[in-house]
Symmetry: C2
Subunit: 151 residues, 2 copies
DNA sequence: CGAATGTCAGCTCAACTGATATCT
DNA sequence: CAGATATCAGTTGAGCTGACATTC
């Protein structure tokens, strides 16, 4: 069952699973009128505190011009607010509002269930193992992106 | 380094890594005028032999209407050919041409290097482990899709 | 007839590019 | 001035939906 040589490629496997993961997360977000980037931006703001737009975009491996539109959406819904940094007026600092924080909290359990659905065939120990491997690959990608951007 | 709570979600991790994987595969394909689906359809035809379009679409977790356009492209480049099944004239059987086969062979090593790039931080044993975990998750997804489509 | 297969048009989101404005 | 930050317009691919025709 499912032995095509495409599956010999981990890159293809990750691509296929990434699509499935995205689909499951989207299901849980569209009912609230949000998209994937809305969630990830809110979560990152919650983790890091108020941040410049370039930092957010870089951390999420996201295009700067796309981030502008996502933040615009979040401002309209009142989940984030923006202020110019008085020390460097080029910078726009984005911060989570209380409304954004509670919206994120409400999403938490709902979104976490996407994990259970995806990783159903694995037991707890295997999930930890997979998670640890994925994190290492992801960390290297981030490091590579940084060094590539600032050689 | 990179500890946001978004990363507690394996679903998000897979999504992010899937994007990175897709990007690496695309780099290697656009130089030849191909896209991701072109590669996967060629590879699946090589593995399974001539197949109906619905089978191809289902196996690749792909929309039937999208497959039609991908196959159209591949027919234009001469990599596949289509024939009506005389026993059931609704069916269109797609098969790989010799040109398609050699194009796929030429892609092989090039595309395999996407794996090395992605999994750079893991040693051989860890790669096997990751691959095995990913395959199990993927197999379950395919099974779920089948049972959901035919309850 | 209903159901399966394939085709076509059109839509949204994701991802990227290039041009421009503003500020340091 | 160069460089960083942000913004805006437009393009492509991916993914999905609905309508339709054809055949069994």
């Amino acid at each position: 069952m499912t032995p095509p040589s495409v599956l010999d490629l981990n890159a293809y496997l990750m691509y296929a699973l990434g699509k499935a993961a995205r689909r499951r997360l989207q299901e849980r977000l569209t009912t609230r009128g949000l998209r994937l980037w809305h969630l990830t931006v809110l979560a990152l703001l919650s983790d890091l505190g108020p941040q410049m737009k370039t930092v957010l975009a870089a951390r999420l491996d996201m295009n700067a011009s796309d981030l502008v539109r996502i933040v615009d959406d979040l401002v309209k819904t009142g989940y984030v607010e923006c202020d110019r940094d008085p020390e460097d007026r080029r910078r726009v600092v984005v911060r989570l509002t209380p409304e954004g924080g509670s919206a994120l909290a409400e999403l938490g359990a709902d979104v976490a269930s996407a994990d259970d659905e995806l990783l159903a065939p694995l037991d707890a120990e295997e999930r930890r193992l997979l998670s640890s491997l994925l994190r290492r690959v992801h960390a290297r990608l981030e490091a590579g992106a940084r060094t590539a951007a600032r050689p």
